[in-house]
Symmetry: C2
Subunit: 378 residues, 2 copies
């Protein structure tokens, strides 16, 4: 374990401002960092079975150093855990521990645990203190920052939740060493996303340095910190997603449709993989609409492919529903404003923008073209 000083990224949200600490060995410093900010607090830790097996003992030791003996609530791993039933179980676990409003609920896990736990912390006693200890790359660069929490509904992903800013985020870069590489890659898609939205230099840096990010050198912490800064910037501009924050949905409209089309079956497609394919499609679609050069789309596809991410629909194992069915998943998506289709499109790498009133017919013919069946047939 390294004793390097962590990098601090401040999320500037007035009286809801908080720090993100990024570095190695942070699990062992959790008690100190939390009790410094919330003196005398009691705590519940919510985690999943995989993460508990790898990191719970370390976190407990770290909390113990700050005088905190947490109640632990362990959920099954996987996207299906973001449900009303598991929300109710976490809420009950927190209440059973007799925690009060001033106590803290800690999420130790990936985006699933972070989203579920944040939602529970936001509604028990109408809002408790919340700390994120993200353990997947996706959670470190994306879901743990920004205050969106929630669960899925049978009618769509992330349709139910609250905004709740954490008091602190501890991104321990070392815990990523136990993350399956497929999950690491999926998180990498969200990291690359910030480059594609409005940081072309970051994207170019990643093209040159991605192998070091995967290997775990100082470049890993550097990349995560840069991603947190990028997300914190957008969130500070638009905390409640009434405008600009929608840019973070680059790749997500297509991505969510593909996740729905594969019944959220992680064996076929995990969220970040859907985002990777979605980003490639968003670039290709923008080029087809003559908004961006096809070279940019090709560059994005090449990089995703180099890191081993899926980038086209045919990279998904098994059959997909046809283009019409995929469009239906898209129009059910929450980013539909009064019936018109809203997409994040781009003028090139680092030049994404919010496009309202994208004609459904254009989307449909693009989906037909990009569909594996027509590709094979064509």
């Amino acid at each position: 374990m390294s004793t390097d000083q962590p990098v601090t990224v401040e999320v500037g949200l007035g009286d809801r401002a908080y720090d993100i600490l990024i570095g190695s060995g942070l699990l062992l410093r959790a008690g100190e960092e939390i009790s410094r900010r919330l003196p005398g607090t009691r705590a519940a830790v919510v985690t999943d079975e995989n993460v508990a097996a790898a990191h719970l003992d370390t976190l407990k030791a770290g909390l113990e150093k700050g005088g905190i003996q947490p109640t632990v609530i362990t959920m099954p791993p996987g996207e299906k855990t973001k449900s009303f039933a598991h929300l109710e179980a976490v809420v009950d676990g927190i209440l059973a521990a007799r925690l009060e409003r001033g106590d803290v609920v800690i999420a130790l896990g990936g985006g699933v645990i972070g989203d579920l736990t944040g939602f529970a912390a936001g509604i028990v006693r109408r809002g408790m203190n919340f700390v994120q200890i993200p353990t997947s790359l996706l959670a470190q660069v994306d879901s743990s920052v920004g205050g969106k929490t929630g669960i899925n509904s049978p009618r769509g992903k992330n349709l139910v939740g609250v905004f709740l800013q954490p008091k602190l985020v501890l991104a321990d870069t070392e815990v990523l060493d136990t993350l399956p590489v497929r999950e690491f890659r999926a998180g990498y898609a969200e990291l690359a996303k910030y480059g594609l939205i409005d940081r072309p230099d970051l994207f170019a840096w990643l093209e040159a340095n991605w192998e070091k990010v995967f290997a775990g050198g100082p470049e890993r912490a550097q990349a995560i910190a840069e991603a947190c800064r990028a997300k914190a910037d957008v969130v500070a501009r638009d905390e409640f997603e009434t405008g600009d924050r929608a840019l973070l949905n680059l790749g997500h409209t297509f991505g969510h449709a593909l996740e729905a089309a594969t019944q959220y079956d992680g064996a076929r497609l995990v969220h970040g993989e859907g985002v990777a394919i979605g980003m490639a499609l968003a670039h290709r679609f923008s080029s087809r609409l003559n908004l961006a050069s096809p070279d940019d789309a090709a560059r994005v596809e090449a990089h995703l492919s180099a890191v081993g991410l899926p980038w086209r629909m045919s990279d998904i194992p098994g059959d997909l529903p046809d283009a019409e069915a995929l469009l239906a998943f898209i129009t059910q998506d929450k980013k539909v404003s009064r019936g018109a289709l809203t997409f994040i499109l781009t003028r090139g790498v680092g030049q994404a923008f919010i496009a309202k009133d994208v004609p459904a017919s254009e989307v449909l013919s693009f989906l037909r073209e990009s569909h594996p069946v027509s590709r094979k047939a064509g």
Copy 2:
């Protein structure tokens, strides 16, 4: 139906400020009032079977005049509806109607429907627009104002929820004519509460005018408006209940314990009745602690008794658990701060205050004294 101009009470909460309109015939003006504030909105109405039978058609006609054709979601009546299962059903009904974040969810009903619906509106898509149309006296003077929403947990009442300020409250005084008198009385307890907290003139006015408030003359609207002003004042001072707002819990610590002790069985005790007994007990307990004169306690008991409200434990039909068990319900109550008992006590009518560190032993011996069993025995 009267065409009097409604009274407007403004709730001053900065960018979350909103109006409470109080008067007769407001259901028929709902469409106009809502579409003026939220042009082009679509709507879901959540109600219960009793209220739907008496008032849904009128509200639909009123919404229609504003061009709004709502989706209606009807729940069973009663406190048990404030549960995770019903929350999930309301959330699903709103999503099934394909409402978006800018659309509105309307609660038409008493406090149960208002609390449940507000919670659902607060979490669908992380927050939609919300309008309260309270139809019980309790909801008009209390639960519809202030932004607290929520459901019950098997571990206690109102332990799960969010703060969500409505965009508008329409308190139609005429709808109260169909309210069972027992429910009207229960709401009256919360109305009298504002007098007991810090408005001694209001309490004296109610002692003189309560029969007119029950009968439905202009005094009814006047009393409701005064109550809304009282609550709005406290809420504007302390929106998220970190201090003063706790004064509104006068009578509620004992009240909640009695509700729990009677298994929330409305046939034995409804919320406002529990509050009535709780207020009388809080005054008597304050007098026993030499904080207030016993004359004030007697005055409160006399008024509650005059309007036909229960005011002592022996007024509850059936057996109650013993004093020790009642105390256990109190210490489970969420108004326990780090193990110490917090009570709202009083120095006399209109002089309530927040008392921290009330010794549990004092509460216990007071409960023993006040308990029907020891009263009979003594």
